[in-house]
C-alpha cells in the first residue's frame, strides 16, 4: 500500500475521484508501480518532506501576479542554462577566427541552430528585464524589510552576476560589435582608480586583447558565474520558503477585536 499522500487539489466535487467502494481494492498497476518507485526513494531520503515544505506553503492574502516575477526570472535562467549547454556543443572559443566561424555555423547550418541561439540571445535580455521587474516588485511591496534583508542582499549579488553574464557572453560571437564593445567595457573597468588598471589586465589576461582573452571570458561565462548563480538562487529560494512571502502593503492585518464585533 503506497504511503505517499499529497493534499488533494481543490477541485469541484464532480471532478474528484469517487471514494472507493468496499471490496473494490484494485488500483491501476501502472500508477501502483510509479508510486512504489517514488516510495522507494522517499523511504531512503525523506525527499517528499522537503518537497512538501517547498510547495505547500501558506501564502498571504492579496498575493497577485507580481509575485510570479521571481519564478519568471528563474525560468529565464533555466532556459539560458539549457540553451547555453547545447550552444556549447558547437561553439569554439578560438579568437583567430574559429569562434566567429562556429557561431556562423550554428546560425546557418545546424538544425534549429538559429532558433536555439536566438532563444539564448533574446533570453538574456528577457532575463535582465525580468530581474529588474522582480527587484522593483520586492522594492515597492517593501519585501526587503526585516526579516528579508538577507534575501535582498543575495538578490543584489544575483543582479550583479547576471550583468556579468551579459558582459562576458556579449564577446563570444566575436564579430566586430562584440569585439569593440568588449574593448570599451574592459576599458570602463580600467577607469576605476588604483585597481582599474590591474582589473582590466586580469580581464584581458594581459595588456592587450589577446589569444587567451576569449577563452577567459568563455570560462567565466559558462562555468564560473553559472555555478555561483545556481548556488545563490538555491539560497534565495530557501529563504523565500523559510520566511514566507510578504503580503502586499495595502493588505491590513486582521484586527481580532473588530472581527469579533462583526461576528
Amino acid at each position: 500500500m503506497p504511503k505517499l499522500k499529497l493534499p488533494a487539489p481543490p477541485l469541484p466535487d464532480r471532478l474528484n475521484p469517487r471514494p472507493k467502494r468496499p471490496g473494490s481494492t484494485k488500483t491501476k498497476p501502472l500508477a501502483e508501480a510509479g508510486i512504489s518507485a517514488i516510495d522507494w526513494v522517499d523511504e531512503r531520503t525523506s525527499l517528499s518532506q522537503g518537497a512538501r515544505w517547498m510547495m505547500f506553503r501558506k501564502i498571504p492574502k492579496g498575493t497577485n501576479w507580481f509575485y510570479t516575477l521571481g519564478s519568471a526570472t528563474l525560468f529565464a535562467f533555466l532556459s539560458q542554462t539549457v540553451t547555453g549547454v547545447f550552444l556549447a556543443m558547437y561553439y569554439r572559443p578560438d579568437a583567430a577566427g574559429g569562434a566567429y566561424e562556429s557561431v556562423r555555423y550554428i546560425t546557418n547550418e545546424v538544425f534549429l541552430g538559429e532558433f536555439v541561439r536566438g532563444m539564448h540571445k533574446w533570453g538574456s535580455s528577457v532575463m535582465v528585464i525580468l530581474i529588474f521587474l522582480h527587484m522593483a516588485r520586492t522594492f515597492f511591496f517593501g519585501a526587503y524589510k526585516y526579516p528579508r534583508e538577507l534575501n535582498w542582499v543575495i538578490g543584489v549579488a544575483l543582479l550583479v552576476l547576471t550583468m556579468a553574464m551579459s558582459f562576458t557572453g556579449y564577446l563570444l560571437p566575436f564579430d566586430q560589435r562584440s569585439y569593440w564593445a568588449t574593448i570599451v567595457g574592459v576599458n570602463i573597468n580600467g577607469t576605476g582608480p588604483f585597481v582599474g588598471p590591474y582589473l582590466s589586465d586580469f580581464l584581458r589576461a594581459g595588456p592587450e586583447f589577446g589569444a587567451t582573452t576569449l577563452a577567459r571570458f568563455y570560462a567565466i561565462h559558462m562555468l564560473l558565474i553559472p555555478g555561483i548563480l545556481a548556488a545563490l538562487i538555491g539560497a534565495h529560494l530557501y529563504l523565500v520558503a523559510k520566511l514566507g512571502t510578504t503580503a502586499p502593503p495595502w493588505i491590513k492585518a486582521d484586527d481580532p477585536v473588530q472581527k469579533e464585533e462583526k461576528a
Binding site: 579568437a95 583567430a96 569593440w180 570599451v184 576599458n187 580600467g190 589576461a205 592587450e208 586583447f209 589577446g210
Partner: protein
C-alpha cells in the same frame, strides 16, 4: 546548580579527563578538531592558491613588444599620415592587428624634445576615451572616433569629445633605411612620455598616480 562559567584549570589532569597526563593542556578532542581543520584548510589551499595564481599570472608577466618593419624611410613625409598595420597581440590572426598612423617629425609643429626614437611619429589608433579605433581624416587634418565623438588634432591632442589625453604613440627607429615601430607609450598634454596606460586613464595632474603603470607592459622609469 554548578556555575558553568567558573574558570576551569587549564591542565587536563586537574579536570579529571580520562587518560590525561601531567602538564597536558590541550584535550584530545580539541587537538583532533584543530588538526582536521588544518588538514582541510591545507588541502583546499593546495588547489585554490595555484588556480588563483594561474588566473592572475598575466597581470605580472611582461608582454613582448618586438620592433616591426613598417616601410622605407622615404615613404613618409611631414604633411600627412600614412596608415600601417602592426601586430599587437600574437596568435590571434586579424584580431591581433592594429593600425598606426606614420609621419615624419616636423620641428615646426612638434615641440617635444627630439631624440633617436622620434624621427618618425607613430600614432596609435586607440581612442583615449574607451578604446575604439580612430581614423585619420586628411580633409579635416584630424583623428575622429566613431564611438562617442572624440576628435584629435594633427598631433593627436584632444580637440573635443570625451577622450582624457592625447593619442598613444610608439617608439620608432631607422635600421638600414627602413622604419621600425617598437613599444607603445602614452603621453600627457605636453606629449611627455609615460608608461603605457589604458584608455580612459588621465595622465595630467594626479592622473598618473590614480592609474599606476602596470607590470604587464614595458615601464618607462618613474612614470
Amino acid at each position: 546548580m554548578p556555575d558553568r562559567h567558573q574558570t576551569k584549570s587549564k591542565y587536563t589532569t586537574d579536570r579529571r579527563i580520562p587518560g590525561a597526563f601531567e602538564g597536558e593542556t590541550v584535550t584530545r578532542r580539541r587537538f583532533m578538531t584543530a588538526s582536521a581543520h588544518t588538514y582541510g584548510g591545507v588541502a583546499t589551499m593546495m588547489f585554490v592558491l595555484p588556480s588563483l595564481a594561474f588566473a592572475l599570472g598575466p597581470i605580472f608577466e611582461e608582454q613582448d613588444q618586438p620592433w616591426q618593419d613598417v616601410g622605407a624611410a622615404d615613404e613618409f613625409d611631414e604633411k600627412s599620415y600614412i596608415p600601417k598595420t602592426i601586430t599587437i597581440a600574437s596568435g590571434v590572426g586579424e584580431a591581433g592587428k592594429s593600425t598606426v598612423y606614420m609621419r615624419r617629425f616636423d620641428p615646426k609643429i612638434d615641440k617635444e624634445p627630439k631624440d633617436e626614437y622620434n624621427d618618425f611619429i607613430a600614432v596609435s589608433t586607440r581612442c583615449m576615451h574607451l578604446g575604439c579605433p580612430v581614423r585619420y581624416v586628411p580633409a579635416a587634418e584630424r583623428f575622429i572616433c566613431p564611438c562617442h565623438g572624440g576628435v584629435y588634432n594633427f598631433r593627436g591632442e584632444v580637440d573635443g569629445g570625451p577622450p582624457v589625453r592625447p593619442l598613444d604613440r610608439f617608439y620608432t627607429r631607422v635600421r638600414g633605411g627602413r622604419v621600425e615601430v617598437g613599444p607603445r607609450f602614452s603621453v600627457n598634454r605636453e606629449i611627455k612620455r609615460f608608461s603605457p596606460r589604458d584608455p580612459g586613464q588621465a595622465l595630467d595632474g594626479i592622473g598618473q598616480y590614480l592609474y599606476p603603470a602596470r607590470p604587464s607592459i614595458r615601464k618607462l622609469p618613474n612614470t
